[in-house]
Symmetry: C2
Subunit: 473 residues, 2 copies
């Protein structure tokens, strides 16, 4: 495709995206795809074309095959998983990144890529109210960020013996602690990094689903007594299921006392830390070693853009660095080489999509949008609490409301069935998208508010639809 062909097709693509987003934002398309398994696959040719096709043919298949198979994450009635806003200014930033087609293997491979990332991550640090002791880098997801932390913790706890000698006999058993409410990516990262499932402690949570810090300490003491080495704690600010808030200050004190690495997973809730009134939620975060905030969730940077902050960048680089001849350059001492700050070597120019979003919106507008979402969640919480047979199951510090319809006499498995049935019916109706989850061993429905175009009217409509679905289930 030549630049002139790109120009022609590109204008059509931009118009197509603008039309698509406008249609999604209106809110009358079905939110959840009703595609059956295999529908999309069967609509596509099973072999690649020998000769080129026109871009118009591709766009026709976007409409005909791809769009019907999408669940609409940008829909104002998308209340599933977490808000994955992909603000249109950020989309343009990402388009610029792909259009430039540059790569950051080292500073010299593309100086602007590295330095813009330094600057916008520092903007972010300020927006989150973090001290200047933190340095930031973009990772793909919080899964990777958490894994990088656990690998660093493993190396620090073993005085780098693990990096040298690996899993040979004689090494101590290193233990990771996280709340029983923590995200599955913590277990996965521990597994990938070689800790082993047996050495991940799931600390009990309290009645608010926050990590119980006295239990954490007890587990550490037990492990020490058994000759094991406490290595890392992963605290969560805003758990996936219920946005529960672990007591970071207390946990940090324990981490310090026992010399254990502290990583704070604020993948979802970190966005809210641009609001000073929310920062009590991670009080003590300055005592942590590492921290992750997914700017690609509520805040609105197009996926993927996980911001990873560290205090000891020397240690990070020591653990992550390899230095082959083909990547060296004469300025290596003077610049950051982000290849040594994570797992992949190659690097997109992802800072552009942050830069475009923050500049086009300004911090105030971002703050006001998040405040709107907090108000909408609070509205729903109060509406649910005021309604017979409905329960709010967890505190609502942020934008997620955990609810259950509990009609008279329904208990246990019958109640689970009822919950899944009405939620599934509502999803299938296309009027909203909700993802149920278990809390205290029973199914309930999470309402995750915060899609960019979700106004109070959408939450009110959702609540009416939830009641109707539950009564007819």
């Amino acid at each position: 495709m030549t630049p002139e062909e790109f120009r022609a097709a590109g204008h059509k693509v931009i118009d197509w995206i603008a039309d698509y987003r406008a249609r999604v934002y209106v809110g009358d398309l079905p939110v959840m795809a009703t595609t059956a398994p295999g529908d999309v696959r069967r609509a596509l040719p099973s072999t690649p074309p020998d000769t080129g096709e026109s871009f118009d043919d591709i766009m026709r298949d976007m409409d005909r095959i791809v769009v019907p198979g999408l669940s609409l994450w940008q829909h104002p009635s998308f209340f599933g998983y977490f808000p994955a806003n992909s603000g249109l200014a950020s989309v343009l930033g990402d388009t610029l990144s792909t259009g430039l087609g540059v790569l950051g293997l080292s500073w010299q491979g593309c100086p602007a890529l590295t330095e813009l990332e330094e600057v916008v991550l520092d903007w972010f640090r300020q927006m989150l109210g973090l001290s200047s002791a933190w340095s930031g880098v973009i990772q793909d997801t919080a899964s990777t960020s958490t894994m990088v932390s656990l690998i660093c913790a493993r190396e620090r706890a073993s005085d780098f013996a693990f990096g040298r000698g690996g899993m040979q006999e004689g090494l101590r058993t290193l233990v990771v602690y996280t709340s029983e409410q923590a995200h599955s990516s913590v277990d996965k990262a521990a597994l990938m990094a070689g800790f082993g499932r047996d050495n991940v402690r799931h600390v009990p949570s309290d009645t608010h689903f926050s990590m119980h810090s006295a239990s954490l300490e007890q587990l550490i003491v037990n492990d020490l007594a058994a000759g094991r080495t406490p290595c890392a704690i992963v605290a969560t600010t805003g758990t996936t299921t219920s946005t529960a808030i672990d007591p970071v200050r207390d946990i940090a004190a324990i981490a310090k006392q026992y010399g254990v690495w502290l990583h704070v997973d604020a993948a979802l809730a970190g966005s809210a830390m641009i609001l000073p009134e929310c920062r009590w939620m991670w009080e003590g975060v300055e005592e942590a070693d590492t921290l992750v905030v997914n700017a690609h969730k509520w805040l609105g940077v197009a996926f993927d853009c996980s911001q990873y902050f560290v205090r000891d960048e020397d240690l990070l680089v020591r653990v992550m660095s390899t230095n082959p001849s083909y990547l060296r350059s004469t300025v290596d001492g003077e610049v950051k080489n982000y290849r040594d700050w994570g797992i992949p070597l190659g690097r997109r120019f992802r800072a552009l999509k942050i830069w475009c979003l923050i500049r086009e919106q300004g911090v105030h507008a971002l703050q006001e949008r998040l405040r709107r979402d907090l108000r909408n969640a609070k509205w729903l919480e109060e509406a649910v609490r005021a309604t017979p047979d409905w329960r709010v199951l967890a505190p609502v510090p942020l934008q997620t409301v955990c609810v259950r319809h509990e009609p008279d006499g329904l208990l246990g498995a019958a109640l689970d069935l009822h919950t899944q049935r009405w939620c599934d019916a509502l999803n299938r109706s296309g009027k909203a998208y909700l993802t149920p989850a278990t809390l205290d061993g029973r199914w309930m429905v999470r309402v995750s508010v915060g899609s960019e175009y979700t106004e109070q009217a959408h939450v009110e409509a959702l609540w009416a639809n939830m009641r109707a679905a539950a009564e007819h289930a």
Copy 2:
């Protein structure tokens, strides 16, 4: 930004990219940025804006601040690192992905995202001449792909004891084997996955810089005798430094005999396997366990898009899977959930950029472009061989030519200095971009041919510029 504001700004962005690419493709801009460390950072405000700015202001800063700080990977005189083509049809595919703003956490979260990925990865499998025993998935980079392989190998070799018990006492020492010419990402993956540097064997290479398979077997025998467990071999088809070809057939036989996992790193050279005449280079690949091909290199898919192929998908999923309640759905048995095929949970719709490239180009056009590059590399090889004081240092099976100017009397460190000096002078002239590397302990210059717009005339001009630079250094 509203859809209508996006439409207006988006058209400008498309025009800007079209103009930028056209300017780059002409080939008279300096290839390497001459930016000094800190130049870009100092040109940017150190704090984020409180209120929004116009997108025109952002575009002005693209021209004023960002572009001068770019090294031009799409320039026809870019001969550094590896070809990182970002074909414009693929750029539009990526724009569509970002514009849709959908996420693949599970099949249900976006059915089309999963199924289009299945289909285009299977197109790719066919284009590469692989049997239908392989299943594909997109990872971000080969670093991650290789790490996933080593983690799977670790679990298979320990009968999953490692995943359960982790690094506790009593586990056997697991060993990884790779060529001394292998990419740094193999060492890094082994380190991240917990093997430890001491347990990575760098197998000697032969005079062609290919892994010496008899030495590989000897190392395995030695490790077994010492009570260690050979776990994984990483063979390379097309090494980074010189595109050396490891003998996959012989290595696969050894892997089979000793029950060791075999991963084939064809990150760069895999693209050439769409040419039947190149497939001798990885003969035996069907005996491997896993395989990585970076479609975001020579082939032209916009970064990042690393294609990872496995034969035993059950084992991959067993190692990588976590299954929290908030990700389950009613169709889980019938569909692929790619979250269990790698490390990150969240997933961009990256299949779109492959789909758009293959459809717009067709397989034949992709093949012809690669054949052109092979011819151009061959032309340079012959020109260098025919010139006094110049040497070709390694076989040229693909598109990389390793050369050195060796004027009379220059040896050792003096020769290294000369090499680095003329290469640096040429890079600073802006006329070409080359990345030197060491081979047999001495510096030399890699000429990596294969940028999308590189024609023979550009290689001829490069060769004239190399001679001029070397004579004046």
